[in-house]
């Protein structure tokens, strides 16, 4: 049978459903008003009808009335939509990060524990999840209709989206931005599970090193440790406790050291922290997006370590 409604499987879905219902009611009333008036006039004032026609009507009052009515209505809708959007775009602080890498034409998912999957995303229900989205090539878009979330995955930067699943099930996700010939095949399933089942699932994925540990290995392999470890004699910022803190920049100003910042620093040395003239080589083109994610996971794992980003 045909389905008339999409699944409602996240906390946000409910908000969007209500918003949709509100919009639908308003749109329906306005349409009924316009079409109703048109139909009435067309019948009543058809050329052959003997209805008495009145004299000219002053239009000014009507104009002011319907202009201000639509204006006020629109402002109301704007605020309603804005609140839902702000909610959708503001991940809770305790959201669990999962890394999602889009490439022509598949999605690779990396869990913090090092488990990875392709075109499937397992998540627990009842916990906010934050997807960190990266692209290896062109713009993709990660879209889970059942959760009412979507965001473009733009190469060269990180985007994120978050959701909290509320029902156990299997929901399709899609790529929603044209990305080439097999754009339509870039789809998969979100599998939502009870937290206990999810923990079991994670454990069953076989022994795997956590992303952070894999990142630590890369940290040495790419030679980052030569400068960025406490033992180093080279004048480079230490990374312990860096994640999530403000970094003072050369020439004034601060920037929060989030994933996007760390990524930009590794690949392009984009921002210059105060007191550290740019010495680091650019790694753009030498490190894959996947390895960058692992390095970031490692640097994040140092966040709780004592010390500060010098």
């Amino acid at each position: 049978m045909t389905r008339f409604l999409p699944y409602t499987a996240s906390t946000l879905s409910h908000e969007v459903n209500w918003l949709y219902l509100g919009l639908l009611i308003i749109a329906f009333c306005v349409l009924l008003l316009v079409v109703g008036m048109m139909a009435t006039f067309c019948v009543r004032y058809r050329r052959a009808s003997a209805t008495v026609r009145g004299g000219p009507v002053k239009s000014f009052r009507f104009e002011i009335a319907w202009t201000s009515a639509t204006f006020l209505g629109f402002i109301g809708l704007f605020f309603w939509g804005a609140f839902v959007y702000l909610d959708a775009r503001t991940p809770p602080r305790d959201a669990v990060p999962i890394y999602v890498l889009g490439k022509q034409w598949m999605w690779k998912v990396e869990h913090p524990g090092g488990q990875s999957e392709i075109n499937t995303l397992h998540v627990p229900i009842g916990r906010p999840i934050r997807l960190v989205l990266a692209s290896q090539d062109v713009i993709h878009d990660f879209f889970v209709p059942a959760f009412r979330v979507k965001y473009d995955v733009v190469p060269g930067r990180y985007e994120d989206l978050w959701f909290e699943a509320i029902t156990v099930g299997r929901y399709p996700f899609f790529c929603s931005q044209l990305c080439g010939t097999f754009h339509a095949d870039m789809r998969g399933w979100v599998v939502t599970m009870e937290p206990a089942d999810f923990a079991k699932w994670l454990a069953a994925q076989g022994p795997s090193e956590s992303l952070a540990l894999q990142g630590k290995a890369l940290f040495h392999q790419y030679g980052c440790s030569g400068c960025h470890e406490p033992r180093s004699t080279i004048h480079a910022p230490l990374l312990a406790g860096l994640y999530g803190r403000p970094v003072a920049l050369q020439g004034g100003g601060f920037i929060i050291a989030d994933e996007a910042y760390i990524r930009d620093q590794i690949l392009m040395n984009k921002h210059i922290p105060a007191g550290y003239p740019p010495k680091m080589p650019h790694f753009a083109g030498h490190i894959s997006e996947e390895d960058v994610l692992k390095l970031i996971a490692y640097i994040k794992s140092l966040a709780s370590a004592p010390g500060s980003a010098r």
Partner: protein, 550 residues
């Protein structure tokens, strides 16, 4: 004291049918005289013929899209499917919707409406047609020899590095077509400023002229941005200069900003002239002055201005900051206000009228309903929290087709039927025309209404294959497309027939007040035997029409 109804609606003094009288068509019948013509009427007709050709090619691409989607697995190979929607988008946007009413109908009637003998720059006018015909040919050639799969939006970095189609050729075609837009826009701006007949003050201009004027301003201001953007894209593809490609240090979001800075105002290029046509048709067939003339006029100008400030709503989920999304959302609601004003004014015009339902009026009424649905669903996508869900889904496809096709194409057909007797001097078969109008309305809704539902169910756009549970709505939509295809082909036959066999039309078959109706049909080569002196505003139907030069 009831007033008996039916005033005598004399269908305007029956002049002797203008058969062999010298007019712009009979002036010189050679092909050469058409290809080198400087007459705005002939150039308008050249535009209409050329653009209609592109319309049917773009329509054929749409037909293939709808055929593919009958089956959830997709009937066409994906590479072909992607090329088809790209061809459909490029041809329909740049080589039909943008120029059809301004350069086609507008070219024919605007000078007549303001009582001018031609446009300000006839040679530029002809050049504009050549540029458009050549660039359209180039676009068609690019599609014909293999096509491209970037979508009409040419998003980066896909266009830069990840596609092998004939991208440069298509970019060149669109780039070139911009010169036609700018020339035509410039021409109409100057014509409207300089060539109005004595007494034709700004507030006596028909709304159609106002909307073409507003459109022309957008043509002139927005098109250069598109040209610059496409040029940068081409330079990047050729010379690997990083502008938009992150692999070269460019910014893909910058491309979207620039592209939509043009392409959103272009949406108003694609609807304002339609609004203008409808503002002519409704008063004429309702035998009533247009309700709130000044408000309709200034809401057109408002649309043209605010239309420049809302481009970011194409990027709500593309990586712009939350704060700019908020601003763009609010501006998008603001831009909906002038559209709402127009709908209410058209509806109010019907009140107390003497309404007849000739084919042009059926198109106009259809326009108002479809445009209202398109506009109301525009509110859905302007609402941030909802757009975040339906962005890049079929909901958006349905929304803009309601505006572009339900609105603009209906308006074009309405205008074409309305001015047909003026252009050709002949009447068409009224019943066939009405059947076509109703069939278009029905077919259109059957095609696109299911797409709202698909969008709400979460079907992303540009998919050659989709999950089977969406098949029902897709099949409905494809069935609608079949009806629409027949409905769009119908006018070719009865209008074609009318060209040779149609009853001769008098100068003013509809009993309209505009200056274009106060000269023979077809008009003489220089439009008016004597320059009309305008004494009053437009749409003075009492319900007896009082011509603007009476």
């Amino acid at each position: 004291m009831t007033v008996p109804a039916l005033p005598e609606l004399t269908p305007v003094p029956e002049l002797a049918p203008v058969t062999a009288v010298e007019n712009y068509l009979t002036d010189d019948m050679s092909l050469r005289s058409w290809l080198f013509t400087l007459d705005h009427k002939r150039i308008g007709i050249l535009f209409i013929i050329t653009l209609t050709l592109f319309f049917f090619i773009g329509g054929a691409a749409a037909a293939l899209i709808r055929i593919d989607l009958i089956d959830p697995a997709g009937l066409a190979p994906p590479a072909l499917y992607n090329r088809m929607f790209t061809a459909h988008g490029i041809l329909m946007v740049w080589f039909f919707l943008l120029p059809i009413i301004p350069a086609g109908l507008g070219n024919f009637v605007l000078p007549l409406m303001i009582g001018a003998h031609d446009v300000a720059f006839p040679r530029l006018n002809l050049m504009s047609w050549y540029i458009l015909a050549i660039s359209g040919g180039l676009a068609f050639a690019a599609i014909f020899i293999g096509g491209l799969d970037t979508g009409w939006t040419f998003y980066e970095p896909f266009t830069a590095d990840f596609t092998n189609g004939h991208v440069i050729m298509a970019l060149a075609a669109v780039f070139l077509s911009g010169f036609s837009s700018i020339s035509t826009g410039l021409n109409f701006i100057v014509t409207t400023h300089r060539l109005r007949a004595p007494g034709m003050t700004w507030y006596r201009l028909p709304v159609f002229v106002w909307t073409i004027y507003a459109t022309s301003v957008i043509f002139v201001l927005a098109t250069p941005v598109l040209a610059a953007t496409l040029l940068m894209s081409a330079v990047q593809r050729f010379l690997h200069v990083g502008v938009f490609d992150p692999a070269l240090g460019g910014d893909p979001i910058l491309f979207q900003h620039l592209f939509w800075f043009y392409s959103h105002p272009a949406v108003y290029i694609m609807i304002l002239p339609g609004m203008g046509v409808v503002s002519e048709l409704i008063p004429c067939f309702a035998r009533k002055p247009l309700f709130g003339y000044e408000f309709v006029v200034w809401s057109s100008i408002g649309l043209a201005i605010i239309g420049f400030l809302v481009w970011g709503h194409h990027m709500f989920v593309a990586g712009i900051s939350v704060y700019s999304a908020l601003v763009f959302s609010m501006m998008s609601f603001f831009v909906a206000v002038p559209s709402a004003i127009k709908v209410f004014n058209w509806t109010a015009t019907l009140h107390d009228g003497w309404i007849s339902f000739d084919a042009p009026m059926l198109y106009a009424l259809g326009f108002v309903i479809l445009f209202t649905i398109g506009g109301l669903t525009g509110l859905f996508v302007a609402t941030l929290g909802f757009d975040e869900y339906v962005h890049d889904t079929y909901f958006v496809i349905a929304h803009f087709h309601y505006i572009m096709v339900g609105g603009m194409v209906s308006a074009f057909f309405g205008g074409l039927h309305y001015w047909w007797p003026k252009m050709t001097g002949r009447l068409y078969n009224e019943w066939w025309a009405r059947i076509a109008a109703l069939l278009i309305f029905f077919g259109f809704n059957l095609t696109f209404f299911p797409q709202f539902i698909l969008g709400y169910l979460g079907m992303p756009r540009r998919l050659y294959a989709y999950p089977p549970e969406w098949q029902f709505w897709n099949v409905l939509s494809s069935a609608g497309a079949a009806v629409l295809a027949v409905a769009y082909a119908l006018p070719l036959f009865y209008l074609g027939w009318s060209l040779f066999r149609g009853e001769r039309a008098g100068p003013n078959p509809w009993g309209a007040t505009g200056l274009e109706w106060q000269t023979p049909s077809p008009p003489p080569k220089h439009n008016f035997e004597t320059t009309p002196i305008v004494t009053r505003g437009p749409y003075q139907y009492t319900p007896e029409p009082i011509p603007q030069n009476a």
